[in-house]
Symmetry: D2
Amino acid sequence: MSTNSFGHLFRVTTWGESHGPAIGATVDGCPPGVAIDEAFIQQWLDKRKPGQSKFTTQRREADEVRILSGVFEGQTTGMPVQLLIENTDQRSKDYSEIAEKFRPGHADITYWQKYGIRDYRGGGRSSARETASRVAAGGLARAAIAALVPGVEITGYMTRVGIHEIDRTRFDAAEIGNNPFWCPDAQMAATWADYLDGLRKSGNSVGAVVEVVAKGVPAGLGAPVYGKLDTDLAAAMMSINAVKGVEIGEGMAAAMLTGEENADEIFMGNDGQPVYSSNHAGGILGGISTGQELVVRFAVKPTSSILKPRQTITKSGEAAEIITKGRHDPCVGIRAVPVGEAMMACVILDHLLLHRGQVGENRGRIG
Amino acid sequence: MSTNSFGHLFRVTTWGESHGPAIGATVDGCPPGVAIDEAFIQQWLDKRKPGQSKFTTQRREADEVRILSGVFEGQTTGMPVQLLIENTDQRSKDYSEIAEKFRPGHADITYWQKYGIRDYRGGGRSSARETASRVAAGGLARAAIAALVPGVEITGYMTRVGIHEIDRTRFDAAEIGNNPFWCPDAQMAATWADYLDGLRKSGNSVGAVVEVVAKGVPAGLGAPVYGKLDTDLAAAMMSINAVKGVEIGEGMAAAMLTGEENADEIFMGNDGQPVYSSNHAGGILGGISTGQELVVRFAVKPTSSILKPRQTITKSGEAAEIITKGRHDPCVGIRAVPVGEAMMACVILDHLLLHRGQVGENRGRIG
Amino acid sequence: MSTNSFGHLFRVTTWGESHGPAIGATVDGCPPGVAIDEAFIQQWLDKRKPGQSKFTTQRREADEVRILSGVFEGQTTGMPVQLLIENTDQRSKDYSEIAEKFRPGHADITYWQKYGIRDYRGGGRSSARETASRVAAGGLARAAIAALVPGVEITGYMTRVGIHEIDRTRFDAAEIGNNPFWCPDAQMAATWADYLDGLRKSGNSVGAVVEVVAKGVPAGLGAPVYGKLDTDLAAAMMSINAVKGVEIGEGMAAAMLTGEENADEIFMGNDGQPVYSSNHAGGILGGISTGQELVVRFAVKPTSSILKPRQTITKSGEAAEIITKGRHDPCVGIRAVPVGEAMMACVILDHLLLHRGQVGENRGRIG
Amino acid sequence: MSTNSFGHLFRVTTWGESHGPAIGATVDGCPPGVAIDEAFIQQWLDKRKPGQSKFTTQRREADEVRILSGVFEGQTTGMPVQLLIENTDQRSKDYSEIAEKFRPGHADITYWQKYGIRDYRGGGRSSARETASRVAAGGLARAAIAALVPGVEITGYMTRVGIHEIDRTRFDAAEIGNNPFWCPDAQMAATWADYLDGLRKSGNSVGAVVEVVAKGVPAGLGAPVYGKLDTDLAAAMMSINAVKGVEIGEGMAAAMLTGEENADEIFMGNDGQPVYSSNHAGGILGGISTGQELVVRFAVKPTSSILKPRQTITKSGEAAEIITKGRHDPCVGIRAVPVGEAMMACVILDHLLLHRGQVGENRGRIG
């Protein structure tokens, strides 16, 4: 039992604070013989790295990962893999205000109330910086998935920024990497750019919706009834900083449908595998993958650190006004995209191993 | 590691199939000295019991719980509590169709693909019948919470049935028990009755949204970063049959707000505890409870078992048409209300114990 | 985290008290498709059943196991298996003495000090009756092992009763079932019979050593460094009532050997598998099985319930004398033999699944 | 589930290989507000450090620990604590022999058979170097215990080296630190020095017995029936490299005693706490601490790396002779003493937290 660990068999424990010497992920349970090196993991970290556009925090972190254990001659050994990322841009500044005043919408007050002590520098453990460790672990998970089940593709993108949602008829996966928003709708990317620019200049921020899709995931992953694939995905995404809602397939909108509308009818495909008339279920039935695309969506709340003055209290209970200066993201959802992908990768790998452990290779055939 | 277990220290393992001899919950980690008897637990089971109105399945189950262990002379002993519920209405019928054909929207096909064997009678383990075990465990959790922290109140209700959402200005908690829908809006309850009657008669079904609120939960519960209170609540709710989305506080709508709109400003209350100008956060900051109301919402998809014929395949891969007869719920969301309450109770108790374990009674004071 | 659960993937949770309505094991993670029925499990329970000779407690329990879940048409489904055993011989008697006085050598005083409440009837949860649940789970584990790796044989026997140890030169596996002591040395069995008869008549008891050997276990089981096979076996055996020591291979005697004496040299066998010149290691190197026999030994202390008067105190702190009447075992080690076998089976199955989960079928070949 | 993790609530995950860049421990669940710094932890590492006498390996490691997270301004924050130790003396040498030949008595062959890949440099993950991480974690555990329960003292020492056992009548705790063997019997320490010198010169090695005693541990720790204090201690000690047997109190010798001899009678002490006539039980009844001294003993096998030539095979299955050169311990038991202490500390702290979580401060009073 560790509340800083995630996963059943592919077990990721992250550690470290925003302004400590380093952060990292201790990853246990990775299959042996997976080809991996720092460069492979680095590419995913680079996607999450701050300071890549004016729409994310201007903190400059190299985010260089080092593999300290569990890899030998370019392959995993089955031993714990330590992924360490040094913190290099802990800008020395005056923390006296943040040490005393609780920033609204932040973990400042609850960490204090819970623990009676907190590393307030840059949010400490509650900083989104922790998600770099997840991305590193997710990189390893991707490599292991590829070794086990060729052809799995995990893709995250934003579908909404504040009041502006993408138009699904313009969805183009090729566009996702062409803009700083991981936006599959080129036209909407332009709208977001203007919108976020305005918010940023006014010292405001806004929420977003991120969608993560996994293709090529085999049927049969997920273990009823508390290790369901959707249960673990929900936990994975909700554990990301600032996430307030998680949806599988139709998500909350499923409440508005009738049974007739929501039915995914089943047919036999040409390759002898079942196919479905639709994917309202998001690729999961009874907590187990169907072989369709896994579709997960989550809402990220607007960054709480804004330049507008707000009312708060101090540790000693005095009323106070606070303006959070610093290098913050106008839309923290942007950097949540690679994090969501990483969590998806970790969950898929974990369930590949879990399924193999309990069931092995044999399972029910159709036809 | 058991995928049929839930919770860190208050650990609930459910077992049993819809049409086996019994179902139950093995509950470990309950504090000793908690006053409990079968009657106390029974009251919550009675809320979930099928057949109480024409809007839920007409299956007749006594749902009588027996405590087989862990309780002595009316108090828990700290030993595992076995809560057993016999299945009494496993109506003998012909299962040959369901044994061969996969019902769309059900776990039939995925259980088969994963395990190569499934107890198809009434859905087996994937039946909503499993949730009775959760409700029993939740009853025990409520008793333990009351022993630890007086004044916690957990209340669930429906806020939406299909296209009809409650009007929050008419919200009246006293109405919740006055209609078969746990609806806090008396006027909407009448609308739902008509709406569901129509759907039921046409052999259709519809989704719903359930909201569960906990009052009186102390600040400081929840453990970053993968045992966050919202993470565990999301997992708890997503693990309930047919749930496709989970929200905390503003939920998915948080994506549409600006940082300014979403800010819950902090003030000092008259009792020396912090108060907040609003509760967009749903009572959780940084994964830790603030002391405000915990607000969780989840969407339940429409019952997949409908009387409309749909296309499917058989185990041998043949195309087939299926009509699911039987005693099903036109809106399974109704019976999910006490289940959501039970999961909330389990999560709260679990985190009370977890907090006490790591931190004890002392924590950061304000003022 | 449940302290009444054992195992990583084959997860056994036992529940129930000596004089409650029933005891049982909730077993999660069993592979699907394992042929099993109550008769198969019953045979192992019958080995442990009390009252089979004058050397074990005269309590009469049918110890009839019922499978309440997880099995369908004679095969496991991969769902939790509930194994329930009703208590039928909870002889009504006067518990007032045991309720007030703490029996020396028993859990009475520590359960009271820890929990402030205890089910004192027959020792409640701390009774050796709990081990029947383990034996039932072990029966299921044996069936699953047989389905995964044909040819594994698990055999337990006693090697010492008090001052009398078997002579290994007379070791005859065929004798084990021929005497009430699971003794592989027929001559020693006769000695034990006289010795125990004397102790029983004088109201005394004595300790014993049990050895459990598993043949046919493949190389590669066990996961460094805290899930080592020897670590899990040590925990498994030490968790059995009254066990005070656990040894692997040479055990404590390894301390007396030189490196030269203790070396198990390695050769290539005719079947292309490594063979060893000896098995000081007990079949485990670096926490991983070598393919040799697994050899585990544990010491069971003498039954604390004896007819000799001893000094103790009452709940209110008064000095008192106690004589424990009742139906007790003069040598509780006898009934620990099938329990040790069951724990061995659970550990082996657990590690078969764990290995398959992380590594799959492929591993390092020699030659 | 991580097989490189230990503990329920105080959860230690170690990582790293003998000749990788670093090793360490990721420790989660530590209570907040515990005063700690690197110097405090370093003192325990210095006890284990190799090269301090001619009786331990001549490898030179600074074993300097760095705290990378979870500590702020000299106190733990309740967040994961990363304890990192760089490897500085990975002497570059020719590993071609060890890469091909399996050293008898080592994990070489089983790691290969299990994983199909192994970091053979210095034994990789199976090296006793891993125990430095345990000692670091144990240092943190000691600090936390002191914060929770003042007065706990944990002391380890050797009681046997090969054929030479200490004389308990000469036991003097003050002697333990006065010789390179942690020997409480000054006369025996001299005997061991000669004995080991002879073995070392002849290129041989020998086993040992280590005893670890904890004083001042409150009654009530340990959670039946698979999280018993003795169960967790057995697992903790058996997980240490080269350990082949674990005993609690009388240990294996309990098998030779009668119930009358083994009885620890109970009396009321002057301070209103129970006292016992003896401590055959080693301070644990029913898996729960009695408040007496906790007494654990374990046997360490002789170092397998000896200078005598032995028979083995190569990866390709060829017969080969091997002489293990290098810097090895003639009696690895010596350095196991601080490791055993560290494991004891981790187990005690873990159960302090676990007890507080489930039961809180209140428990059964006597008198």
